[in-house]
Amino acid sequence: MATLRDKIDVLARRQGGDESVVLEQAVELGVEQLYRIEMRAEYLRGEITREQAIEILGIEEVDDLDYAHQAAMEDVAWGLRRG
């Protein structure tokens, strides 16, 4: 199985040998992903508004979050025979 070092080497070779470009892209992608995870969590905790969440995550993802949250609450209510 390829190590992180192997993967960086492969990507650097494919992109002309500049390892620093690969690392810069990796940081950008990683930070973007972590930021979206944090924004999802903040939205669910009510720390950002729906409008702010839509601006950051997009309407589809916010709709899915709302639906998944509602589904989880319905699941618990059904499970505990409250629904």
Partner: protein, 169 residues
């Protein structure tokens, strides 16, 4: 009397992934379309599930190709999901188990009762199979160790909801 359920691949797989498929015994019987069995075989979970609960699981043939295609075009579902939808249409009183939001939406539009892995764990708690701490632990492992895609904040809210008015709260 425990419910009879029709299951999609997700809840069976996700609970088997963390070794908690025993909670499926909250149901009297679980009907599984053949296409779902094929997915579980491909993913490597069917042998475990079938061996653990041979009398609980009932495999039924799925719908024909033509009806699959109609359902696919209407709801943008894959063929196993479409088979679940078709079997559920034949048994409207049965609870349907799925963690797939698109399938859940399609089933709810048709008036079915739809429950995901979280609901099964909550029912296992209500039935006395898991105490509150054990149920919390299973929910945490579903998020951390299974392939169930669920945001942590949603599970934390579900755990909080279970504490309110739960049998052992």
């Amino acid at each position: 009397m425990a419910d009879i359920a029709i299951s999609d691949t997700g809840p069976l797989r996700h609970l088997a992934e963390i070794g908690e498929h025993g909670v499926l015994a909250v149901f009297a019987r679980i009907i599984i379309p053949q296409l779902v069995v094929r997915e579980l075989q491909f993913q490597g979970f069917w042998v475990t599930l079938a061996a653990a609960m041979p009398r609980l699981l009932t495999v039924v043939p799925g719908p024909g190709v033509d009806s699959d295609l109609v359902l696919l075009s209407a709801d943008d579902l894959d063929s196993a999901d479409a088979a679940v939808l078709a079997v559920a249409s034949d048994h409207p009183a049965h609870t349907v188990l799925t963690d797939d939001l698109a399938l859940r939406r399609a089933l709810k539009r048709r008036g079915h009762t739809v429950i995901g892995s979280l609901g099964i764990v909550a029912r296992a708690h209500e039935a006395g199979m898991l105490d509150l701490t054990q149920a919390d632990g299973v929910l945490d492992r579903l998020v951390d160790e299974s392939t169930l895609y669920l945001t942590r904040g949603i599970v934390d809210d579900a755990k909080q909801a279970m504490r309110q008015d739960s049998p052992s709260a």
